[in-house]
């Protein structure tokens, strides 16, 4: 979170709404530890990361759905153990759990 404060400040000053995705859990091998944070604004701009670039594209799509109101806040997972793995898997073979929410707190 610390590393994206400047981006959040800038976006909010410009009137953007912001979605926050944080790594809350890992099964097996994962590139980033719990707490790794990525933020996405309603214009699709991105700061921070939650993996080694493996799932960021999918997180942007989910974040935009969240900000548009077509996806609820909650945990989303990426990895070999679910269907989404085949679309956007982690190269390291683990499963990553993210908590995605709007910055409305």
């Amino acid at each position: 979170m610390r590393e994206v404060l400047d981006d959040i400040d800038r976006w909010r000053a410009a009137g953007h709404r912001v979605a926050v995705a944080r790594v809350v859990g890992l099964d097996g091998s994962g590139p980033r530890d719990p707490g790794a944070t990525m933020v996405v604004n309603d214009a699709g701009e991105v700061a921070g990361s939650v993996s080694g670039g493996c799932v960021e594209g999918a997180v942007v799509s989910a974040a935009l759905e969240l900000l548009e109101g077509t996806r609820p806040r909650g945990v989303i997972s990426f990895g070999y153990s679910d269907d989404e793995a085949f679309a956007v898997g982690l190269t390291c073979g683990g499963t990553i759990h993210l908590f995605l929410e709007p910055l409305d707190w």
Binding site: M1, P34, F99, W105
Partner: protein, 270 residues
Amino acid sequence: MSTPDPAPLYEVLRATLRGDRPVALATVTEGPGLGAKLLVRPDEPVVGTLGDPGLDRVVGRDALAELDAGLTATRHYGAHGEARERAVTVFIESFAPAPRMVIFGAVDFTAALARVGKLLGYRVTVCDARAVFATRARFPMADEVVNEWPDRYLAGVADRLGPRDAVCVLTHDAKFDVPAIVGAVSTRVGYIGAMGSRRTHATRLERLREAGLDDAGLARVMAPIGIDIGARTPEETAISICAEIIAQRAGVVVPNLCDGAGPIHRPPGD
């Protein structure tokens, strides 16, 4: 587009992080009150609620413990904070202040080590008793440049050094590095490394024993400092030192120079 409504809890988090003060953020990630938050700081009132006073009390206590240990983890609770139940999943994220790297000796290697220390997220202090060397102009990358004797500087910050912090002694001069090492060993600092050849360190060991260090204290000192990657330049040496710090924290076995034999600087191509 209008500016979003003020978000009080985030504002407290933001201000605390900007001030580099410790804070933990607990978020309900599954169960009733999804997304509810509790922000916990040592010796300050909590902000927010997870929706139940019992849950707030237990999570607040756990969050302070996680923060003290610098841990970030997901935990499960009953709806009112009961242990061994799983009605509520709470993600507790610790934001500990940046770890400290204290470098004694304002030499060429110091600038490179300070740069790599900053890259790794350390709050870097350069300390040297010689005012002509310890200047801001020579170490603009450091957070702090202190003109002080090592033992006096360490006495002032001893209670702020802990397992996540590092002390690197690059002075190359017994009259500075003996008090720096003795002072560092008296703290809880996680990593202590001292530069110098094996011969220099053998002589230094005698002086350190004379200064009162026992075997347990001496065992904490990584000297010669760094791991054996054939480093030659100040920058390569800085990488070698930081690799040793990372490996020690992670508990990973690496070829530490202090466990080897023979010259530290091999001729190129050897």
